[in-house]
């Protein structure tokens, strides 16, 4: 795509649950978002585009005419299109449960859904059944290097089993890791005819960081530049370059989730240098798993206030999985935000050791899980699951543009379009000040009674002054477009990035405003269910708008 040539562009994100379309136009010299619309995945993009075009014509016929926008001709428009690749299933086979779990920890940092087998859990027939399952797209066969005493005896059999099964499925990809690579039986695998790939890598490491050959090998098997979660980090990088800000992204979707980080090039870097981008795309980040397990249900229940019955909550989660667009009322959105919190926490556990030490300046929120929530409730869902003292701006990819923009292969072209769209691309949610206070109690259900300081937010009408009470959560009205100075003064010292008695930070306004969060870091919910519910209900009252009579 050459940005200079067309004046209209379709940006399409075809997710597993949602199809989203935006019409981008260039009425003068820069690109703008003219309209967006999202619908269930079964709806064709052309239908959405035509509807948007009709609305644009109705709102500003002159603009539509000047751009040549016609509702009956949207299919002819050039397009950027990202798709969510359907999840693939990986069979992990190892000589011991210990090794299998180690392999699974690498696989968890990829989009693969894993099914795990070892002689401790499966006999050879059951393992063969797993590998022959038509739903399994690849095998990860691994051992330690050297092989441990708990797995050594099984390696010859496993090598022969996997080779035999893979020869019956010539298209099956196989990754072999560790000392088992030297087993003679694998010779048959190397001679196998067919389209299936064989990748051999070193053994899995405990507490693997970014340098993880197993993870890289698994990711390479399903690499797809048009996949939405492959493209989004690239767009994030372009945003970091354009804004010169450290960015992070939290995305929770139907079939997976994404954490991504982008650091702009240093000032000393040559012009046009790229941002440093890293990401973790994991099936663990899916809003609701295809098969709900009790642990996942409990994780969601911990964040709900209305559900008292685990079976009923499981029903609602299964319904959310089966009909992801249904029930967008208040209770339905609350359920989504509770499930999103649980998904983000699973993502963070998978990404332990991978997150950068320095916090982001801006956190972006994306994915269908956040599509309908009130802005403050959405912001709180991210703050609850991202507990870092400091100040951060929050924004939302409401128009689902990050993925289509990320499919632009040329980084210069991509940066140019992102720069044009920067003001339209994201909905500013606002800012959050998360502070660790000396008086915060052990869990979040018991705010301290006495103020430990004061927050003053400058404003044209004198600003806002807020007493700082440990454990409290407050929202200060700070509309989009406002940039303000927030000064914190305390007697006991307050932990932002560093502990200080006085600190002034810059905060950005947004549709949610400024969230002032003095709850404990890390956040611990009360163990007792009644106290937990009353605590969450109190936060709910702050972040959800009043009922409109």
């Amino acid at each position: 795509m050459t940005a200079a040539t067309p004046r209209l562009l379709l940006a399409i994100d075809r997710g597993a649950a949602t199809t989203s379309v935006a019409i981008l136009g260039r009425p003068a010299t820069t690109w703008r978002v003219l309209g967006t619309l999202a619908a269930p995945a079964a709806v064709e993009p052309g239908t959405l585009a035509s509807t948007i075009a009709t609305r644009i014509v109705a709102a500003d016929a002159g603009l539509a005419t000047s751009l040549g926008l016609r509702p009956d001709a949207v299919d002819d428009l050039p397009r950027l299109e990202a798709r969510s690749r359907p999840p693939s299933t990986l069979a992990i086979v190892a000589g011991s449960r210990r090794t299998a779990d180690l392999l699974a920890s690498s696989a968890a940092r990829t989009p693969w859904r894993s099914r795990i087998a070892s002689p401790e859990t499966h006999d050879p027939r059951e393992m063969t059944e797993l590998v022959l399952d038509a739903g399994v797209s690849a095998i990860l066969l691994g051992s330690g290097d050297p092989a441990g005493p708990d797995e050594r005896a099984a390696l010859d059999d496993l090598a022969a089993l996997v080779t035999a099964a893979a020869r019956r499925r010539p298209g099956l990809d196989v990754v072999v890791a560790g000392a088992i690579r030297t087993r003679r039986a694998l010779g048959g695998l190397r001679e196998r005819e067919g389209a299936g790939r064989l990748v051999e890598v070193p053994a899995a490491r405990r507490r693997g960081g970014w340098d993880d050959p197993i993870r890289d090998a698994l990711a390479s098997l399903i690499a797809d530049p048009s996949d939405a979660r492959t493209a989004m980090p690239l767009a994030l990088g372009s945003l970091a370059e354009v804004t010169d800000r450290r960015m992070s992204l939290v995305e929770v979707g139907y079939d997976g989730g994404l954490l991504a980080w982008a650091v702009p090039p240093p000032a000393s870097a040559p012009a046009g240098a790229a941002a440093a981008v890293r990401s973790v795309h994991s099936a663990a980040g899916e809003l609701v798993a295809p098969q709900t397990i009790p642990e996942d249900v409990d994780a969601v229940m911990a964040w709900t206030i209305g559900e008292h019955d685990r079976h009923r909550l499981t029903d609602r989660l299964r319904e959310l999985r089966g009909a992801p667009w249904a029930d967008l009322s208040g209770p339905g959105v609350r359920l989504r935000l509770a499930a999103a919190r649980a998904a983000i926490l699973r993502l963070r556990r998978v990404a332990v050791g991978l997150e950068p030490d320095e916090p982001a300046d801006i956190v972006l929120v994306a994915g269908g899980a956040f599509a309908a929530g009130p802005p403050a409730a959405t912001a709180l869902a991210v703050i609850d699951t991202t507990r870092r003292p400091g100040t951060v701006a929050l924004a939302w990819d409401a128009a689902r543009l990050l993925a289509p923009l990320g499919t632009i292969a040329d980084p210069v072209e991509r940066r140019t379009l992102v720069a044009d769209l920067a003001d339209d691309l994201l909905v500013p949610l606002g800012s959050a000040i998360v502070a660790a206070t000396a008086g915060a109690t052990r869990d979040a259900g018991s705010p301290g009674r006495h103020p430990v300081g004061r927050l003053q937010v400058d404003g044209p009408d004198g600003g806002t002054i807020l007493d700082l009470v440990p454990g409290d959560l407050s929202i200060v009205d700070l509309p989009p477009g406002r940039v303000a100075a927030a000064t914190i003064v305390t007697d006991e010292g307050i932990g932002l990035v560093r502990r200080a008695r006085r600190a002034t930070v810059t905060v950005n306004g947004g549709v949610a405003g400024l969230v002032v969060d003095l709850r404990p870091v890390p956040l611990r919910l009360p163990d007792r269910r009644d106290r937990r519910r009353s605590t969450i209900a109190a936060w709910d009252a702050i972040t959800w708008p009043e009922e409109v009579p």
Partner: protein, 336 residues
Amino acid sequence: MSAPSGLALVAAAPLVEDGVELRFALRPGDRAFVVPGEPVAAGAPIAGRLRDPRTEVLPARASVPDTARPGDRWTAGPGRGADPDAPEGELLFASGRRWRVAGGEHVETLEAPVAGVVTAVVAGSEIRIATGARAIRGRELIGGTTTGRLEVISPRDGEVRATDLDVDLAGAIVVVGARIDAEAITRARAVGIRGIVVATLGTRERRDALATDERGRAAVHGLPPFAILVLEGAVRLPIGASTMAVLDALEGRTVALVPEPAALVVDAPSLALPAPDPTVVRIRSGPWAGLEGAFAGLAGPRRVDRGVIVETAWVRIGDRPPVAVALGDLDRRIAR
């Protein structure tokens, strides 16, 4: 008359599919009786599935040809020093000069539920059959393939109790309406009902049904075929009106419930079935959940609850004035 503008934004799915490929899972040790390209009649045996599969290790003295390959059948034939204790089954792999074999004693015959042509046979994995049968897809099937005469014993929003089920229904696949409880499911099995078609199934009932099914597979003598086709999901909803009309039209006919795709299938390609009105939409949740009405155009973004703004559409329910319903709460059925 043309459909109101915006109807295409409501998710649509075919009510009945004409012609469907069915998949039957095989496990290592199971035996296919058919080959690709072979036509099969309804009721024809297509595979023998082991109810007690296990791994056997062939004795070192067992004679296995050098040309043997994983997936081949192994039988200790007569003569040639045959060992009467040597197992038979499907060769898995050889390690340490001894073959592993998937075998078992108790075989259950799988029959083709409808006529078709075998399109694929993969030992230890699957059999696929292309059929001209018509299918009503559901969300999930619990249990295995089963056939029976279709009996509608409840209105589409009804709930059947255990006392409603008696031995007169033996051999039938019953349509039970919106919901069924665990006691009624147990009763259905006990009186010889072959299958249940229900709109929704709660987690508790689903868990119990899965557990019973698992126990039945493991039992020495097995259980008669039984399956539950869940049409919609977990939260209570009636069967859609257009779906119910088709089920009513099929009453008395032999139908099958199949797992992949989860569906009710019937071998009646020329049977006229009621076609759905594509402008009728069903409401899945909210204050009008379960009701159906006529789509009356887009209503634009609206606040549906505290702070929740969604795209909505007008729906005319009966004689009432149109109501604005979230687009995501609507679905409809169309003719293919």
